[in-house]
Amino acid sequence: MSVQERIMEMVADRFNKELEELTPATEFVADLSADSLDQVELTIDIEDEFGLPETPEDALAKILTIGDLVDYVESTVEH
């Protein structure tokens, strides 16, 4: 399973959505009605899932879409 597929699954589960409703362009705030607590919760789940270090606040602020999150995870895993 790719990073994107796993992240899509986790987002669908957290926001009670079907996978078909989500794309990389899906925005957390505009499309999923996420607030800051939702985003931090999801981030912690992602960190645990992929064994990432704590996400810096400035990086967190730049994650607006599912695609942004996938890019962040892939680039962090590579490093």
Binding site: N16, S33, S36, L37, V40, E41, I44, E54, E57
Partner: protein, 341 residues
């Protein structure tokens, strides 16, 4: 039963927290795990003459989350704070419930991020029991979520209904939506949509209730967003203080009134006690997967005792398990589907 106490949270911590914990241990018999700066806790225990009391353990935590800390940053960064350590101990099964009089925002954030919500619950809510002309009325939410969606309010209604049944002993709680009028069309679009959801839900929904009517025993669960709920709660507190102050001034003016005061002294005392936040003790964070109780920030020892009692009763109840089992009923599409079929 072991209750984990954030010994450093609150205006009068750690002195009053430790004092209350010792009293609770002696009167209720529960084991306690005090979390905070060990030297400070031991000093307070010495003052109480109970430094080596079996049944009271200490877990050192050097840091403290204060009221000015950003909740999310504090929970993520202050990993050795008494609140974060206490919540991690609860998560790891080292106790049955957590009591904290610390920052409400940090406790809510910490409980959500560390202990986690019941699966399917969108938001945890603060739900204090208000004194009223009946068995008490549950106000949900009183400040955890400033803005809410209709689905979140539907979940609050179900959680409030179950809490009123289990913890307040009300057989069929009358659930009402706080609004600016009783008619169905009143309020914002959020209120109107929530009204329709509650009307269709498997609840004893009695319609809208105005702020002026919530204390007269006609409703048992008051559903509202945290912004309005907090204003209602603080207005009630302020009005109660205002009235008691004026009654006191009337009763202390002139010989005739002082004599009258002597005759009703016990009744006035009972009224004052009913309105005292220390008597209520704490507020449960409903929707979290393990019991977390927020004690009033200005808690004195008696409030801590009551909060520990409440935590133990909550932990002994099947509230969380029952919510988890009925989570599908609390979804917006589930309520709408019922109407359609």
């Amino acid at each position: 039963m072991k209750i984990i106490i954030d010994a450093m949270g609150g205006d009068h911590a750690p002195e009053e927290i430790v004092k209350g914990a010792v009293q609770a241990h002696q009167t209720l018999g529960h084991d306690l795990l005090l979390v905070g700066r060990e030297a400070d806790i031991r000093r307070c225990l010495r003052v109480e003459g109970t430094e080596n009391l079996p049944g009271i353990q200490i877990q050192n935590a050097d840091d403290v989350i204060d009221m000015n800390d950003d909740p999310t940053l504090a929970i993520r960064r202050k990993k050795d704070s008494s609140m974060v350590v206490a919540l991690n101990l609860l998560k790891d099964g080292e106790g049955d419930a957590v009591v904290s009089a610390g920052s409400t925002g940090a406790l809510l954030t910490g409980a959500t991020l560390i202990v986690r919500r019941i699966k399917g619950i969108r938001r945890a809510a603060l739900a204090p029991a208000l004194p009223n002309m009946g068995a008490g009325a549950l106000l949900i939410d009183c400040g955890a979520n400033a803005e809410c969606t209709p689905e979140q309010l539907l979940q609050f209604a179900y959680m409030g209904d179950l809490y009123a049944k289990r913890m307040l002993g009300i057989g069929s709680p009358r659930v009402a939506l706080l609004n600016n009028g009783t008619e169905e069309h009143k309020g914002t679009s959020m209120h109107q949509e929530t009204y329709q959801l509650l009307k269709q839900a498997d609840l004893n929904f009695v319609g809208n209730v105005e702020g002026s009517q919530v204390l007269f025993g006609e409703v048992d669960v008051i559903v509202t967003d945290g912004f309005s709920g907090n204003i209602l709660l603080k207005t009630i507190e302020g009005t109660a203080k205002f009235l008691l102050k004026n009654i006191k001034e009337i009763l202390m003016s002139g010989l005739k009134n002082k004599l009258a005061a002597l005759m009703v002294k016990n009744d006035i005392g009972a009224l004052k006690k009913m309105m005292d936040p220390n008597e209520i003790g704490g507020t449960a964070l409903l929707g979290i997967s393990k019991p977390v109780i927020k004690a009033h920030g200005s808690s004195e020892a008696s409030a801590v005792v009551n909060a520990i009692r409440q935590a133990a009763e909550f932990a002994q109840s099947d509230f969380i398990q029952t919510i988890a089992e009925h989570i599908d009923d609390m979804r917006m599409d589930s309520v709408k589907d019922e109407k359609e079929f």
